[in-house]
């Protein structure tokens, strides 16, 4: 009885062991290479679910089927126009041929370091062969320019872009992809996710930005002064115009009145000039003579001739 019990336990344990070694599950995110004594056997298993293999002699090696991440170290690279920049690149890749991948690289650690080598190198090559502007910009889109911004941009920033960032990224991808199939890797995308000036260049760029802004500010200020001077000039001109126009009209009106008055006087006084002269003289005496005046009168005069004799002779 006891022997039977022990045998039963052993049997169950063996069955469990054998079945554990025989059955294996492949998850949706996995793919499997079966090896026999370390040597890959048959096609890789990519279908998820429950699968069978020979127990003990065969071994299942699991690989990821998903899109995997690769993040490069920041690289200090000079561009063709000798600008030193930090470039961070990321890539998306997957194990497209797990068998080859297993043979060449063994595991993801190996793959990561291999991708490091390849993409870093290609990134350097591509960046070093192009100007900074090609790395930064994607299109030749014109910047929205306000009037005061004109001529402010550096000539460098205004260069037209031959390829642009996206094409450069594709160039890196294409070059790196040439060797990848050999490792059982499919490279699906390479992208630059950070670019920055190295510290020394950044300081210079800041200086340039400051002087650029200063130019814009100066332009605004002088524009303000110019504009206000223009308005003041307009004001002066209009003031002079208004004043002189008023003067002209006043003179014209007064002249006409003077002429009319002169006409009236002439018409009236012309009838008897002698009388006018006399009357006018009389009027004038009244106003001209005052208490400061000396009047020397002859007894011959109309008034005083009777002083000499009553007959006035």
């Amino acid at each position: 009885m006891t022997r039977g019990l022990i045998a039963g336990i052993v049997l169950i344990a063996a069955t469990v062991l054998v079945s554990l070694s025989t059955f294996y599950t492949v998850a949706e995110s996995e793919q499997v290479v079966i090896t026999e004594f370390g040597k890959p056997i048959g096609k890789p298993v990519t279908k998820p679910g429950l699968h069978l293999k020979w127990p003990f002699i065969q071994e299942a090696r699991f690989f990821d089927k998903r899109w995997l991440e690769w993040l490069g170290d920041a690289n200090q690279v000079p561009t063709r126009d000798k600008k030193y920049i930090w470039v961070d690149v990321y890539a998306r890749w997957r194990i497209s041929d797990p068998l080859r991948f297993f043979q060449r690289l063994r595991d993801e650690m190996g793959a990561q370091s291999r991708i490091d080598d390849i993409i870093d190198g290609e990134t350097r090559n591509v960046i070093a062969n192009h100007n900074l502007i090609e790395v930064v910009r994607s299109t030749n889109r014109a910047f929205a320019e306000t009037d005061e911004m004109k001529d402010v941009f550096e000539a460098e920033a205004m260069q037209s872009v031959q390829l642009g960032r996206e094409k450069l990224e594709r160039m890196i991808l294409a070059r790196a992809s040439r060797v990848m199939p050999d490792y059982g890797i499919e490279l699906v995308d390479v992208r630059i996710h950070r670019i920055n000036y190295v510290e020394a260049v950044r300081a210079k760029v800041y200086d340039r930005m400051i002087s650029e802004r200063k130019r814009i500010a100066d332009r605004h200020r002088s524009e303000g002064q110019g504009e206000s001077a223009k308005i003041r000039g307009k004001k002066e001109r209009e003031l002079k115009g208004i004043d002189s126009e008023a003067y002209r009209r006043a003179q014209e009106i007064m002249g006409k009145a003077d002429a009319e008055a002169a006409g009236i006087y002439a018409a009236a006084y012309g009838k008897d000039a002698e009388l006018y002269r006399f009357l006018r003289s009389m009027e004038t005496y009244k106003t001209v003579l005052d208490k400061e005046s000396w009047l020397v009168l002859s007894t011959d005069s109309e008034l005083l001739r009777f002083l000499r004799s009553s007959d006035g002779r």
Binding site: S29, W67, M149, M209, Y269, K286, V296
Partner: protein, 334 residues
């Protein structure tokens, strides 16, 4: 006897007793094992999906379907497995800053790590600090789980790449002023397209630009530009104010001048008319007796004038030498 017998029975055959008990152990063990196994099976057959989640069921690793929120039964003991994916939850990632503590007054943190995220080159080769957030939902749990590893980190890197690509095509002025919305929109669209390409199973809901600043060392000069714009506006406004003050005044005084001239004209003509009417009236009478009238007028005038004059000297034209005798100076000095 009975008590003794009982005691005796046990001591009679101790080996048989033990064997009997031992034989009962596996039977009980089996029962316990079955019970435990059944309990575990039942327990592992039950699962629950929370209201904001969906359950993704895999059988032996193979995807078989999704289940809605609520209690559910599955094959136990690892045959079927469930992963709950929060599809209704709004996820958020921050770039260039981190919310330290959300609340009424939210605290934000920034350090060299977030600065590395936010510092970027603009299309005119300037540098700007751009902070933004991305909100997303898991739209396709299958893809989210089985197509991409490390979705959250991947999305972060993608978002940075896309934002730099878009900002790299705009000038710093656009970024800081007129281009903000366009940039956010374009970045969102690019990011959504990239998510689709990478089969992330993620739906980008919103991409919002937060603080967008020039880097700290150049910030004063950007402020100076704003000040200069204000100054320009002020100078222009002041000039217009002066203009508006002086021109109407000048128009008023011009009108006054003209009116005065009109007044002068009326007066002048009226006076002329008055003077001449008077003259003509007088002349009419004068003609009737010229000599008498003339003499009368002359004498009247003298009568009016003479009392007003200071000194009057009367000379006889026959006495020629009278003038030198007059001490004129003495008379004049007051």
């Amino acid at each position: 006897m009975a008590g003794n017998g009982r005691f005796g029975r046990e001591t009679e055959d101790p080996l048989g007793d033990m064997l009997r008990r031992l034989r009962e152990v596996p039977r009980r063990l089996g029962l316990i094992a079955v019970l435990v196994l059944g309990g575990v099976a039942l327990y592992s057959a039950y699962y629950q999906v929370e209201p904001d989640e969906v359950g993704v069921v895999t059988r032996f690793g193979r995807f078989v379907g999704t289940t809605p929120p609520g209690p559910h039964i599955k094959w136990p003991l690892g045959i079927e497995r469930v992963q709950n994916v929060p599809v209704e939850r709004q996820n958020k990632q921050e770039f260039g800053f981190r919310t330290v503590q959300a609340g009424v007054r939210t605290e934000f943190g920034r350090d060299s790590g977030t600065e590395a995220e936010s510092l970027m080159l603009t299309g005119d080769l300037n540098v700007a600090n751009v902070e933004w957030i991305v909100q997303y939902k898991i739209a396709d749990p299958y893809r989210y789980l089985f197509k991409v590893r490390e979705v959250r980190a991947t999305l972060g890197i993608m978002s940075e790449a896309v934002m730099r690509e878009v900002v790299g095509d705009h000038s710093v002025t656009e970024l800081l002023t007129v281009g903000r919305e366009a940039i956010a929109l374009q970045a969102k669209e690019s990011l959504a397209a990239l998510c689709k390409r990478y089969e992330m199973g993620v739906d980008i809901q919103q991409l919002v630009l937060q603080d967008v600043d020039p880097p700290a060392p150049v910030r004063p000069s950007f402020n100076d530009v704003n000040e200069a714009i204000q100054e320009r506006e002020r100078a222009i406004n002041e000039a217009w104010a002066e203009y508006n003050q002086e021109i109407p005044k000048a128009r008023g005084s011009a009108e006054q001048q003209v009116q005065a001239a009109e007044g002068y004209a009326v007066e002048r003509v009226n006076r002329a008319r008055g003077d001449t009417e008077r003259f003509l009236a007088l002349q009419g009478e004068y003609r009737k007796a010229p000599a008498v009238t003339r003499t009368r007028l002359y004498l009247e005038t003298l009568a009016a004038v003479l009392p007003k004059t200071g000194r009057r000297v009367i000379v006889d034209d026959k006495l020629r030498s009278v003038l030198p005798l007059l001490s004129i100076g003495k008379e004049v000095s007051p």
